[in-house]
């Protein structure tokens, strides 16, 4: 592989890994926030157990989202300085907003939610998880805004050898953004919901002692999955109104994942909306359905990656559509040796950590809602929140 292909591979590997975890974060955040709300309103121990169990899966998954995201952010400067040189005045702005406002607040509130358990007043603690959800969505919005600019570079003019920002409003209403953002949000919800369904099916299949816990979780998952896939497919089709002309012609690398995503996405939508949703009352009891539900769990992740492949490979050979090629965006002076070393380092470390993370999540699912670390009461402390200020 030449240096350009190596640099592209490095970005594709870290980007795909990042999204595998981010898509679940985006889906589980609102679901955990809803469970936490029910608990805050009812005080029901079952709702508390659901918040802690699914919250634990959410935060363990979150760890990999962070570390893969760090690598992505710095890779722009390491391998793609031609992009910041040519379009940094436009493309840099949404990334600055994402890190300075959205992710900054998301990380701060997540820390408060995890470690403020039993320490913050009930409603303040609940507010934290909703703020985490809101800022996670804001993060996704700014990242999609930046990506949509690469797909359809509006709001800017070329002056000399650089792009200049002239109309930020045009970036906000980019036709490449308005339907793709809700598409991603829907896909996230669908993914998170299917994890609820699959994990609950596993526990029910094993004749868990927590029947009510997993029956409710499974039903919540089915309803959320139905909403998620409905939003995803609806905005998925709407996106074709904003796709660049000829994007998928003669580009097998983009057309194939696109076709697979659409075909299997439609099939899944039919199954969720017309089989699982009508059967919601009996699904927890009909044990023969549980292996099928478990088999469906990885599909949303695969389809999400297919979607990104279609969108990003379809942009080739352009970094910024019809303005800047990927080859010109690469850092001048980058050598194969440099990229190979960093690719091995990042792919090796992040790949291993991803495997470890999935094993840990699988273990949480297997152990069930007993002895969950998240929100555990420290020895020698009472459960009531400190009303210290």
């Amino acid at each position: 592989m030449d240096v350009l292909e190596l640099a592209r591979t490095q970005f594709a590997v870290t980007g795909s890994l990042h999204f595998l975890f981010v898509v679940l974060t985006l889906g589980l955040a609102p679901l955990v926030a809803i469970m936490n709300t029910r608990w805050a309103m009812s005080g029901n121990p079952l709702h508390e157990a659901m918040t802690r169990f699914w919250g634990q899966i959410y935060v363990v998954n979150y760890a990999l989202g962070i570390v893969t995201g760090l690598v992505m952010e710095f890779q722009f400067g390491l391998a793609w300085s031609g992009l910041s040189h040519y379009a940094g005045d436009v493309f840099g702005a949404p990334l600055a907003m994402e890190t300075l406002v959205a992710f900054f607040l998301e990380s701060t509130f997540l820390g408060l939610w995890i470690f403020g358990w039993g320490r913050l007043p009930r409603w303040a603690h609940l507010a934290c998880i909703w703020l985490v959800t809101l800022t996670a969505y804001a993060s996704a919005f700014y990242i999609m805004l930046a990506n949509s600019f690469l797909q359809n570079p509006v709001g800017s003019v070329a002056r000399g050898d650089r792009l200049e920002l002239v109309d930020f409003g045009a970036l906000l209403t980019n036709k490449s953004l308005v339907f793709s953002f809700p598409h991603v949000i829907g896909a996230g919800l669908f993914t998170g919901a299917m994890v609820l369904v699959g994990a609950s099916a596993y526990q029910l299949r094993r004749r868990t002692e927590h029947v009510e816990f997993f029956t409710r979780s499974l039903r919540t998952g089915v309803v959320a999955a139905a909403i998620g896939i409905f939003v995803t497919t609806g905005f998925g089709y709407a996106q074709f109104a904003g796709v660049q002309e000829g994007k998928f012609n003669d580009n097998v690398g983009a057309a194939l994942p696109l076709g697979l995503m659409i075909e299997f996405g439609q099939l899944l939508a039919l199954v969720v909306l017309f089989v699982m949703l009508p059967m919601i009352a009996v699904l927890p009891r009909w044990r023969w359905t549980h292996p099928l539900l478990m088999l469906m769990t990885p599909l949303p992740f695969v389809l999400a990656i297919m979607g990104w492949l279609a969108r990003e490979v379809g942009r080739q050979p352009w970094m910024i559509w019809e303005k800047l090629t990927v080859a010109d965006a690469m850092s001048p002076g980058l050598t194969s040796g440099m990229v190979t070393a960093s690719l091995v380092g990042f792919a090796g470390v992040l790949g291993l950590l991803a495997v470890v993370d999935y094993v840990l999540i699988a273990r949480i699912v297997r152990r069930g809602p007993r002895d969950v670390a998240l929100g555990a009461v420290p020895a020698g402390e009472s459960r009531s929140p400190a009303l210290s200020y």
């Binding site: 990334l95 890190t99 701060t108 408060l112 020698g380 402390e381």
Partner: protein
Amino acid sequence: MEVIWFVLFAVLLAGYFALEGFDLGVGLLLPLLGRTREGRDRMVAAMAPYVLANEVWLVAVAGTMFGVYPLLEGEVLFKLYPLVVAMLLSWILRDAGLWFRRRLDGFRWRGFWDAMIAFGSLGLSFGWGMAIHAAATGFAGPVVHPVGVMLGAVVTLLFAFHGWTFLAWRAPGVFGASRSGRALAVSGVVAAVPAVGVLVGAMPYLLANSAPAATLNVLSVMVLPFAPIILGAQVWVWRTFRPGKDAVLLPSFF
């Protein structure tokens, strides 16, 4: 407008040193002060509630650099390529150590991730000294320079001292000493000195290479209104996790 954004950038970088400095310091001290597994658990528990709110300052530094100094972003990171890769890997392993160390009960499991926390903290602290030296000399020399290595050792010692002060403030007496909030503030300022030094030196260069007014105006409108909320969230963290006996209660999530 350039001046406002320079000040913001400077506050973020100096703030990262003053805040994340003590997290890295505690990580550095893990093998020294935390001889037993429970000792290390308590050290991590003391800093755990702050880590997410502290490390994010560097994420914001990088994002601000992209938005406000786009021409420098690629240049600086590319010239430090091997160093940035090594520092990123250190950061990843430190974070993974924190998130993973308590997820399984095995003695070796936790010992391994504690080693990763110490190792990652060391790599990051040392890397910062070398990066600051490279920036101060205009990226002229090789990345690994004797003076840079010395500066790396200095930053490492500063962070370790800051981490020690933090532990003595958050959990008075538990690790052998007690320090006031004022002492912690002073050690934070001292930890930020290397960052402030390089920022002062780079100020004319940064001001001259700011993004054009149109970009800065949009950034100001979109970011500055949130500044009080961001500041408020940080204050909330410090008000919630105050010093006291409960600072090192176990189990903590990290």
